[in-house]
Amino acid sequence: MSLNFLEFERPIAELEAKIDELRYVGDDADVNISEEIARLQAKSRQLTEQIFSSLTPWQIAQLARHPQRPYTLDYAERLFTDFEELHGDRSFADDPAIVGGLARYRGEPVMVIGQQKGRDTREKIRRNFGMPRPEGYRKAERLMEMAERFRMPVLTFIDTPGAYPGVDAEERGQSEAIAHNLQVMSRLRTPIVCTVIGEGGSGGALAIGVGDRVLMLQYSTYSVISPEGCASILWKDSEQAPAAAEAMGINAERLRELGLVDEVITEPLGGVHRDWSAAAQALDGVLHEQLTALRALSTEDLVAQRYERLMGLGRFRE
């Protein structure tokens, strides 16, 4: 897979192009240029480290939306066995923008739920760019209740620009669908671990994001409104998105500092899209650790602690 480089990665892209060129030359010429390639590769690595050590929130937002970033099903494939996707909300339709189903995680049954984006144009449209409709949230809610009944933890994967703002979504009660999930998740009698893997877009993300632990991948984002949306409302200019991203503090490390996120999962150098298996491995380590800690709690303690955590959200003077 050839990598798509983002604007701020241009120096890396140029270097990588040079390496490819050399490789091509190396194939038909007699000269030994492997040393030169190795030297450039080291340089590329160094450059990547340098660029990635000081990313702005806006650059992170672009990484979170990177077209080659692994999506929910890509993680499901690498983290779980026996994944059985379950479809539909039992009253209206199946929403392909949210996937869910039974799976085994390290041998134990779990319920997997996540927003799903599409890779190519057709799939993107089918998945509605990862923007769920009410039936998607209602499917998620159905699966969560099922997880509670059969005593299995819920693992959610958040990756959405937001809940779909369309006429049909409004007709079928988008607000109610989201609100209902928030309430159900606050009281569900089974562990819930939520991981933001890409874009955590507002209420559409939170609707599967209320849990005992909230984790974020290093270059994922979580915000109340997209930087573009915030900029166009508060600055009256969507070009100010980088400033809005900065002001809102949408990146994982900042949100951990603010106490809104429990743990940040370090991504492979250059971002998870460069190495999907390394990404899954990093996630696996943290997920397992958190889940083990939660399983040790009694259901009463689990639900009480979750409630306390929710009540502690917010900063005000008193």
Binding site: G173, S175, L206, A207, L313
Partner: protein
Amino acid sequence: MSWFEKLMPSRIRTEAGGSRTRSIPEGLWTKCEECTAVLYRPELERHLEVCPKCGHHMRIGARRRLEWFLDEDSGSEIGTDVTPVDILRFRDSKKYKDRLVQAQKNTGEKDALIAMSGTVHEVPVVAAAFEFSFMGGSMGSVVGERFVRAANAALESRSALVCFTASGGARMQEALFSLMQMAKTSAVLARLREAGVPFISVLTDPTTGGVSASFAMLGDVNVAEPKALIGFAGPRVIEQTVRETLPEGFQRSEFLLEHGVVDAIIDRRDMRERLARIIAMLNGRAAPAVQPQAAIEG
């Protein structure tokens, strides 16, 4: 309450013990923004800011709303000492801190939600209302915390919780903290539900975004004032997404009633009586002694 009494200055006491005077209207005559009828202000007041000619419900402030809703002198304010802080030092074209000071000066309120415990036709309730003119009634940490305190007060006294919403959604200047208020407020309602304490959500114009997609939709009974704009996404956002003009009446109360989202549409002038009756039934109390509506219709 007779119409004459309604003309009197309010006497609802706050925890601080001070009484407030109603803002004095600029002129004696005003125009209905809907039917353009010229209205006599005292008459409009008597009709609780509902146009006597066309029934258009005008927006009203939170404190006035609660004064009208609760029995006279029954209100005692909750959570007045919870006030906002600019934790993120948020700055767009203006500093959030300055926006707060401005909003506080303009409205005389500390933040966008006011909560009181009191009675409605002698039925005990805890009632909260949004001040839309305070930064668009946006929900930040203070709104979330005051809502939770109101809900807990209802839980303790086992009296119904009523909330009048008028909000554009989450407060962007508090970033993710504001989003989390959706989870916080919905969670406390789960407790009321488990305890069998009723929650009545009254959706007024406008209720959108994060407020609509959290506690506002979680009423045991959801009611709306006529023709209020209620939705998840604002009409402009939807128009940009679907790239077509939205149908007449889209996202209005009547549309929500038709689509099964609200239980009933209630005229503001009937709100006290209807809600008192509903709450009394949910709480297993005797029917409240309700005065006929004729008093204000005449």
